[in-house]
Amino acid sequence: MGNPQEFARRYYEAGADELIYIDIVASLYERNNLTDIVSKTATNVFIPITVGGGVRSVEDVKILLRAGADKVAINTAAVRNPNLVTEVAQRFGSQCMVLSIEAKQTAPNRWEAYTDNGREKTGVDVLAWVRRGVELGAGEILLTSVDREGTRKGFDIDLVRAVSTAVGVPVIACGGMGTLEHLVSVIREGHADAVAMADVLHYKRLTLTDIREARERAMKGDAP
């Protein structure tokens, strides 16, 4: 689609609150090549930057933070080695340890955690894992619905509400944003603390101004 740091700069200028970079095939190829993009972005973008995809060790985190990231999002490596969550939190603080969770629904009000960008099952229950992750030191949850991602059909509200009420740390809802109504309902009914979106912006279906206005309405409790 184009150069990521140009998108980043454009969204920063349009008033985005935060940027999230995820290399979605990093774990598959066991690579981590976002460092260069992050450092270029951080030179002229003055909002928080979260980076995920292929983060496997305390050393990987250190390199990304030095490049200008504020937080790292870890999924696959955390499922394989939960102690990594604690090591990162102790070394750099919980505020930069974002636990990324990819959730796929298996039954009403039950979800299973997936890894490798929604490709691999883990057999791990999402609510049990999110509670454990917070005990281990995660300071924030990036919660993606595998079922809804890319559908534009709205967020999995039940999932977001279940996770947001299960833990005392902020939850970022991701996956399914298609309309402003989706945003309003995930905030009001899902109790999302933050909402992440990608293609509605990349393809210019919505503007950040529209999104901010809808958010204000959602927080005030007016009709969407």
């Binding site: 951080a42 909002i47 928080p48 930069c96 924030e140 005392g168 740390v169």
Partner: protein
Amino acid sequence: MSLEVTVVDYGMGNLFSVSRAVEQCGGTVILADKPEMIDQAARVILPGVGAFADGMSELHKRRLVEPLRKIAVDGRPLLGICLGMQMLLDTGKEFGEHAGLGLISGVVEPIPSTGTDGQPHKIPHIGWNALIRPPACTSWADTILANIPENSPVYFVHSFTPMPAREEHRLADCRYDGRRVSAVIRSGNVYGCQFHPEKSGTVGLRILMNFLALKKG
């Protein structure tokens, strides 16, 4: 000539963002990890992320505590950010009680775990929140908040909060589920920001620019 800003490098977190933001505001950054570098500084930023006790112990280890106190005595501008702000106070209550720099009287306590409605709320307090003027503060003119409109949003991430002993040291607050949370404190040329100006977009950059423009008191 561009304005020199001495940023304290004491092993508590990343200096890249603060340095880049200062440069964006037209400043030149000097990273300082030795007492004599602080002694020579025209103005100092004390950043930092992490626990209070660790921060103070890293400052002591590098013999930076007395030079930082001297900055305040001399009236040279000093800006603490996040943990750097919290260490300006007398005492931190994170993992036990620990002495701070004692430049602004008060203690640093955990953010109350509920809002004023008694409902539990999220800790850490992460995200954008609006700067409001405390009742006792009449104006932000001639401070680092000069020309910043009230209710401007800035970016917070913290679990502990400074409780200044004197109301007049509160320059700005924010509201977190009804609770008043200190956002900016000030005593003379000693300033502390709980939020991250280097991550608060154009408002944050303007605050840093105002800090660069402060004259020795």
